[in-house]
Protein backbone atom coordinates (compact mmCIF):
# COMPACT_ATOMS: atom_id res chain seq x y z
CA UNK A 1 0.00 0.00 0.00
CA UNK A 2 1.27 3.43 -0.92
CA UNK A 3 2.23 5.75 1.89
CA UNK A 4 0.01 8.79 2.25
CA UNK A 5 1.52 11.75 0.40
CA UNK A 6 2.44 14.71 2.56
CA UNK A 7 0.45 17.83 1.77
CA UNK A 8 3.53 20.05 1.98
CA UNK A 9 5.29 17.92 -0.60
CA UNK A 10 2.70 18.76 -3.25
CA UNK A 11 2.84 21.47 -5.87
CA UNK A 12 -0.06 22.59 -8.02
CA UNK A 13 0.36 20.97 -11.41
CA UNK A 14 2.07 17.81 -10.14
CA UNK A 15 0.90 14.75 -12.00
CA UNK A 16 0.12 12.14 -9.37
CA UNK A 17 -1.19 9.33 -11.56
CA UNK A 18 -1.28 8.21 -15.15
CA UNK A 19 -2.88 4.85 -15.85
CA UNK A 20 -4.47 3.03 -18.74
CA UNK A 21 -7.38 0.59 -18.36
CA UNK A 22 -8.95 -1.76 -20.86
CA UNK A 23 -12.73 -1.73 -20.43
CA UNK A 24 -14.36 -4.75 -22.06
CA UNK A 25 -17.87 -6.12 -22.36
CA UNK A 26 -16.96 -8.37 -19.45
CA UNK A 27 -16.27 -5.24 -17.40
CA UNK A 28 -19.73 -3.92 -18.21
CA UNK A 29 -21.46 -7.13 -17.22
CA UNK A 30 -19.50 -7.24 -13.99
CA UNK A 31 -20.40 -3.63 -13.19
CA UNK A 32 -24.05 -4.23 -14.06
CA UNK A 33 -24.15 -7.02 -11.52
CA UNK A 34 -22.24 -5.15 -8.84
CA UNK A 35 -24.22 -1.92 -9.20
CA UNK A 36 -27.64 -3.27 -10.10
CA UNK A 37 -27.79 -1.16 -13.26
CA UNK A 38 -29.04 -3.64 -15.84
CA UNK A 39 -29.94 -1.19 -18.56
CA UNK A 40 -29.40 -3.27 -21.73
CA UNK A 41 -27.69 -0.43 -23.60
CA UNK A 42 -24.68 -1.49 -21.54
CA UNK A 43 -24.50 -5.04 -22.87
CA UNK A 44 -26.79 -5.57 -25.88
CA UNK A 45 -25.74 -4.42 -29.33
CA UNK A 46 -29.25 -4.79 -30.71
CA UNK A 47 -30.77 -2.55 -28.05
CA UNK A 48 -28.00 0.03 -28.40
CA UNK A 49 -28.53 0.10 -32.14
CA UNK A 50 -32.30 0.27 -31.82
CA UNK A 51 -32.12 3.33 -29.59
CA UNK A 52 -29.74 5.07 -31.96
CA UNK A 53 -26.53 4.82 -29.97
CA UNK A 54 -23.16 4.39 -31.69
CA UNK A 55 -22.72 1.11 -29.82
CA UNK A 56 -22.88 -0.51 -26.41
CA UNK A 57 -21.84 2.09 -23.85
CA UNK A 58 -19.99 1.83 -20.57
CA UNK A 59 -22.06 2.90 -17.59
CA UNK A 60 -21.10 6.49 -16.80
CA UNK A 61 -20.83 5.45 -13.18
CA UNK A 62 -18.34 2.75 -14.17
CA UNK A 63 -16.15 5.31 -15.89
CA UNK A 64 -16.47 7.53 -12.83
CA UNK A 65 -15.56 4.62 -10.57
CA UNK A 66 -12.54 3.53 -12.59
CA UNK A 67 -11.29 7.11 -12.87
CA UNK A 68 -11.32 7.48 -9.08
CA UNK A 69 -8.93 4.57 -8.65
CA UNK A 70 -6.02 6.64 -9.89
CA UNK A 71 -6.56 8.95 -6.93
CA UNK A 72 -7.26 6.15 -4.44
CA UNK A 73 -4.05 4.36 -5.36
CA UNK A 74 -2.02 7.51 -5.07
CA UNK A 75 -3.51 8.65 -1.77
CA UNK A 76 -3.22 5.16 -0.27
CA UNK A 77 -6.56 4.97 1.57
CA UNK A 78 -9.94 5.31 -0.16
CA UNK A 79 -11.33 7.01 2.95
CA UNK A 80 -9.17 10.03 2.15
CA UNK A 81 -11.33 10.80 -0.89
CA UNK A 82 -13.86 13.07 0.80
CA UNK A 83 -15.56 14.66 -2.21
CA UNK A 84 -15.68 13.41 -5.77
CA UNK A 85 -17.62 14.75 -8.71
CA UNK A 86 -17.75 14.37 -12.47
CA UNK A 87 -19.78 15.53 -15.42
CA UNK A 88 -20.61 12.95 -18.06
CA UNK A 89 -19.65 14.63 -21.31
CA UNK A 90 -19.07 11.89 -23.87
CA UNK A 91 -20.26 8.29 -24.10
CA UNK A 92 -17.67 5.51 -23.94
CA UNK A 93 -18.41 3.02 -26.70
CA UNK A 94 -17.16 -0.45 -25.80
CA UNK A 95 -16.37 -2.54 -28.86
CA UNK A 96 -17.39 -6.17 -28.53
CA UNK A 97 -13.93 -7.37 -29.55
CA UNK A 98 -11.55 -4.61 -28.61
CA UNK A 99 -13.36 -2.97 -25.72
CA UNK A 100 -12.34 0.61 -25.00
CA UNK A 101 -9.05 1.91 -23.70
CA UNK A 102 -9.53 4.45 -20.94
CA UNK A 103 -6.62 6.72 -20.11
CA UNK A 104 -6.71 8.43 -16.74
CA UNK A 105 -4.36 11.11 -15.51
CA UNK A 106 -4.62 13.07 -12.29
CA UNK A 107 -2.98 16.32 -11.28
CA UNK A 108 -2.87 18.49 -8.19
CA UNK A 109 -5.14 21.47 -8.90
CA UNK A 110 -5.69 23.20 -5.56
CA UNK A 111 -3.93 22.93 -2.20
CA UNK A 112 -5.69 24.08 0.96
CA UNK A 113 -2.99 23.81 3.57
CA UNK A 114 -5.12 25.06 6.46
CA UNK A 115 -7.88 22.56 5.74
CA UNK A 116 -5.34 19.81 5.13
CA UNK A 117 -6.74 18.91 1.79
CA UNK A 118 -6.01 19.09 -1.90
CA UNK A 119 -8.13 18.98 -5.02
CA UNK A 120 -7.01 16.50 -7.61
CA UNK A 121 -8.33 17.02 -11.13
CA UNK A 122 -8.77 13.96 -13.29
CA UNK A 123 -8.67 13.68 -17.05
CA UNK A 124 -10.31 10.55 -18.43
CA UNK A 125 -10.10 10.00 -22.16
CA UNK A 126 -10.70 7.42 -24.84
CA UNK A 127 -8.81 7.73 -28.13
CA UNK A 128 -7.57 11.13 -27.01
CA UNK A 129 -11.05 12.53 -26.39
CA UNK A 130 -12.10 13.38 -22.87
CA UNK A 131 -15.17 11.54 -21.60
CA UNK A 132 -15.60 13.24 -18.23
CA UNK A 133 -15.75 16.93 -17.45
CA UNK A 134 -15.07 18.70 -14.16
CA UNK A 135 -13.74 15.47 -12.68
CA UNK A 136 -12.50 16.61 -9.28
CA UNK A 137 -11.60 14.71 -6.16
CA UNK A 138 -10.83 16.37 -2.84
CA UNK A 139 -8.47 14.35 -0.74
CA UNK A 140 -7.87 14.81 2.96
CA UNK A 141 -4.18 14.61 3.83
CA UNK A 142 -4.36 15.44 7.54
Amino acid sequence: MAATPALDSLTVGDEVASVRHLVTRDSLVRYAGASGDFNPIHYRDDVAEFVGLPGVLAHGMLTMGIASQAVVDWVGDPARVVDYQVRFTRPVVVDRQDGATLDVTAKVAVIEADAGRARIDIVASVDGKTVLGKAQAWVSLI
Binding site: S35, H42, M61, G65, V72, D83, Y84, V86
Partner: protein
Amino acid sequence: MTGPSEVNKGEPGGAARASPGLSRASSVRRMKRVPVNPAIQGRSYPPVDAYLVGREKVREFARAVFATNPIHFEVEAARAAGHADVVAPPTFPVVVQEATLAQLLGDEDAGIDFGRVVHGDQRFEYSRPVVAGDELTAHLTVTSVKSLGGNSMITASTVIDDATGEHVVTATSTLVVRGED
Protein backbone atom coordinates in the same frame (compact mmCIF):
# COMPACT_ATOMS: atom_id res chain seq x y z
CA MET B 1 -27.30 12.80 -26.26
CA THR B 2 -26.42 15.02 -23.38
CA GLY B 3 -24.52 12.38 -21.53
CA PRO B 4 -23.61 8.77 -21.87
CA SER B 5 -24.90 7.34 -18.70
CA GLU B 6 -28.39 6.07 -18.33
CA VAL B 7 -29.80 6.44 -14.88
CA ASN B 8 -30.73 3.18 -13.32
CA LYS B 9 -34.48 2.97 -13.15
CA GLY B 10 -34.85 0.51 -10.37
CA GLU B 11 -36.21 -2.91 -11.01
CA PRO B 12 -34.18 -4.85 -13.56
CA GLY B 13 -37.34 -5.92 -15.35
CA GLY B 14 -38.01 -2.31 -16.17
CA ALA B 15 -34.67 -1.71 -17.78
CA ALA B 16 -35.68 -2.20 -21.39
CA ARG B 17 -38.71 -0.02 -20.95
CA ALA B 18 -36.47 2.61 -19.43
CA SER B 19 -34.02 2.76 -22.31
CA PRO B 20 -33.93 6.22 -23.82
CA GLY B 21 -34.53 5.42 -27.42
CA LEU B 22 -37.14 2.78 -26.81
CA SER B 23 -39.16 5.45 -25.12
CA ARG B 24 -38.32 7.95 -27.82
CA ALA B 25 -39.66 5.56 -30.41
CA SER B 26 -42.92 5.17 -28.54
CA SER B 27 -43.17 8.89 -27.90
CA VAL B 28 -43.49 9.51 -31.62
CA ARG B 29 -46.98 8.14 -31.33
CA ARG B 30 -47.75 10.19 -28.27
CA MET B 31 -49.54 13.44 -28.98
CA LYS B 32 -48.51 15.38 -25.91
CA ARG B 33 -45.70 15.10 -23.47
CA VAL B 34 -46.11 16.32 -19.94
CA PRO B 35 -43.20 18.59 -19.05
CA VAL B 36 -41.22 18.20 -15.85
CA ASN B 37 -43.23 19.75 -13.06
CA PRO B 38 -41.22 22.73 -11.74
CA ALA B 39 -43.10 22.47 -8.43
CA ILE B 40 -41.03 19.43 -7.48
CA GLN B 41 -38.19 21.77 -6.58
CA GLY B 42 -37.80 21.39 -2.84
CA ARG B 43 -39.77 18.18 -2.69
CA SER B 44 -38.48 15.45 -0.37
CA TYR B 45 -39.32 11.79 -0.46
CA PRO B 46 -39.57 9.50 2.55
CA PRO B 47 -36.44 7.51 3.44
CA VAL B 48 -36.09 4.22 1.61
CA ASP B 49 -35.59 0.95 3.46
CA ALA B 50 -32.28 0.77 5.29
CA TYR B 51 -29.38 -0.62 3.28
CA LEU B 52 -26.99 -2.96 5.09
CA VAL B 53 -23.51 -2.70 3.56
CA GLY B 54 -22.16 -6.21 3.12
CA ARG B 55 -18.47 -7.04 3.10
CA GLU B 56 -18.79 -9.17 -0.02
CA LYS B 57 -20.79 -6.43 -1.74
CA VAL B 58 -18.00 -3.97 -1.05
CA ARG B 59 -15.50 -6.41 -2.52
CA GLU B 60 -17.71 -7.13 -5.53
CA PHE B 61 -18.24 -3.44 -6.25
CA ALA B 62 -14.56 -2.69 -5.75
CA ARG B 63 -13.56 -5.38 -8.27
CA ALA B 64 -16.13 -3.99 -10.71
CA VAL B 65 -14.55 -0.51 -10.67
CA PHE B 66 -11.04 -1.96 -11.09
CA ALA B 67 -10.03 -1.16 -7.54
CA THR B 68 -6.94 -2.86 -6.16
CA ASN B 69 -6.33 -1.10 -2.84
CA PRO B 70 -6.32 -3.77 -0.09
CA ILE B 71 -8.43 -1.55 2.19
CA HIS B 72 -11.39 -2.47 -0.05
CA PHE B 73 -10.75 -6.19 0.21
CA GLU B 74 -8.84 -7.18 3.34
CA VAL B 75 -10.30 -6.63 6.78
CA GLU B 76 -6.84 -6.60 8.33
CA ALA B 77 -5.63 -3.91 5.94
CA ALA B 78 -8.73 -1.84 6.65
CA ARG B 79 -8.31 -2.19 10.40
CA ALA B 80 -4.64 -1.35 10.19
CA ALA B 81 -5.69 1.89 8.51
CA GLY B 82 -8.12 2.62 11.33
CA HIS B 83 -11.39 1.46 9.77
CA ALA B 84 -13.91 -0.88 11.35
CA ASP B 85 -14.13 -3.04 8.23
CA VAL B 86 -13.45 -2.93 4.50
CA VAL B 87 -14.04 0.52 3.00
CA ALA B 88 -16.32 0.98 0.00
CA PRO B 89 -15.03 2.72 -3.14
CA PRO B 90 -15.85 6.43 -3.51
CA THR B 91 -18.70 5.78 -5.95
CA PHE B 92 -20.30 2.92 -4.01
CA PRO B 93 -23.09 5.08 -2.51
CA VAL B 94 -24.74 5.10 -5.94
CA VAL B 95 -26.00 1.64 -5.00
CA VAL B 96 -27.79 3.14 -2.00
CA GLN B 97 -28.87 6.28 -3.85
CA GLU B 98 -30.47 4.31 -6.65
CA ALA B 99 -33.65 3.42 -4.75
CA THR B 100 -34.20 7.10 -3.98
CA LEU B 101 -33.84 8.06 -7.65
CA ALA B 102 -36.39 5.37 -8.45
CA GLN B 103 -38.82 7.19 -6.11
CA LEU B 104 -38.31 10.44 -7.99
CA LEU B 105 -38.58 8.87 -11.43
CA GLY B 106 -41.63 6.91 -10.34
CA ASP B 107 -43.44 10.00 -9.04
CA GLU B 108 -46.10 10.64 -11.68
CA ASP B 109 -46.60 14.17 -10.42
CA ALA B 110 -42.95 14.94 -11.19
CA GLY B 111 -43.65 14.31 -14.86
CA ILE B 112 -40.21 12.92 -15.63
CA ASP B 113 -40.34 10.84 -18.79
CA PHE B 114 -37.51 8.63 -17.67
CA GLY B 115 -36.97 7.28 -21.12
CA ARG B 116 -35.62 10.73 -21.95
CA VAL B 117 -33.37 11.01 -18.92
CA VAL B 118 -29.62 11.04 -19.16
CA HIS B 119 -27.23 11.34 -16.28
CA GLY B 120 -25.54 14.74 -16.42
CA ASP B 121 -23.39 15.03 -13.31
CA GLN B 122 -22.69 13.05 -10.19
CA ARG B 123 -21.11 13.99 -6.88
CA PHE B 124 -20.38 12.31 -3.56
CA GLU B 125 -19.63 14.45 -0.49
CA TYR B 126 -18.48 12.47 2.50
CA SER B 127 -18.54 13.08 6.23
CA ARG B 128 -16.98 9.68 6.76
CA PRO B 129 -16.29 6.63 4.59
CA VAL B 130 -18.80 3.85 4.01
CA VAL B 131 -17.60 0.61 5.59
CA ALA B 132 -18.99 -2.91 5.63
CA GLY B 133 -21.52 -3.30 8.42
CA ASP B 134 -22.99 0.16 8.02
CA GLU B 135 -26.76 0.32 8.02
CA LEU B 136 -27.58 3.28 5.83
CA THR B 137 -30.77 5.21 5.33
CA ALA B 138 -31.25 7.47 2.35
CA HIS B 139 -33.67 10.21 1.50
CA LEU B 140 -33.84 12.36 -1.58
CA THR B 141 -34.64 16.04 -1.97
CA VAL B 142 -35.04 17.80 -5.29
CA THR B 143 -32.77 20.79 -4.93
CA SER B 144 -33.29 22.41 -8.29
CA VAL B 145 -35.31 22.23 -11.49
CA LYS B 146 -34.16 24.33 -14.41
CA SER B 147 -35.03 24.67 -18.06
CA LEU B 148 -32.16 25.01 -20.45
CA GLY B 149 -32.39 24.98 -24.21
CA GLY B 150 -35.59 22.96 -24.26
CA ASN B 151 -34.23 20.44 -21.77
CA SER B 152 -35.00 20.19 -18.09
CA MET B 153 -32.23 19.77 -15.58
CA ILE B 154 -33.14 18.27 -12.25
CA THR B 155 -30.69 18.19 -9.39
CA ALA B 156 -31.48 15.74 -6.62
CA SER B 157 -29.49 15.24 -3.43
CA THR B 158 -29.72 12.00 -1.53
CA VAL B 159 -28.60 12.33 2.07
CA ILE B 160 -27.27 9.05 3.42
CA ASP B 161 -27.05 8.63 7.19
CA ASP B 162 -25.96 5.77 9.42
CA ALA B 163 -28.01 3.88 11.99
CA THR B 164 -27.26 6.51 14.64
CA GLY B 165 -28.53 9.27 12.38
CA GLU B 166 -25.09 10.69 11.67
CA HIS B 167 -24.39 11.91 8.17
CA VAL B 168 -22.19 9.63 6.06
CA VAL B 169 -22.37 10.90 2.49
CA THR B 170 -24.56 12.96 0.22
CA ALA B 171 -24.96 11.71 -3.34
CA THR B 172 -26.10 14.35 -5.79
CA SER B 173 -27.19 13.70 -9.35
CA THR B 174 -28.13 16.07 -12.08
CA LEU B 175 -30.52 14.47 -14.51
CA VAL B 176 -31.10 15.96 -17.90
CA VAL B 177 -34.54 15.33 -19.36
CA ARG B 178 -34.38 15.95 -23.05
CA GLY B 179 -37.14 18.01 -24.58
CA GLU B 180 -38.78 17.47 -27.96
CA ASP B 181 -36.52 16.03 -30.63
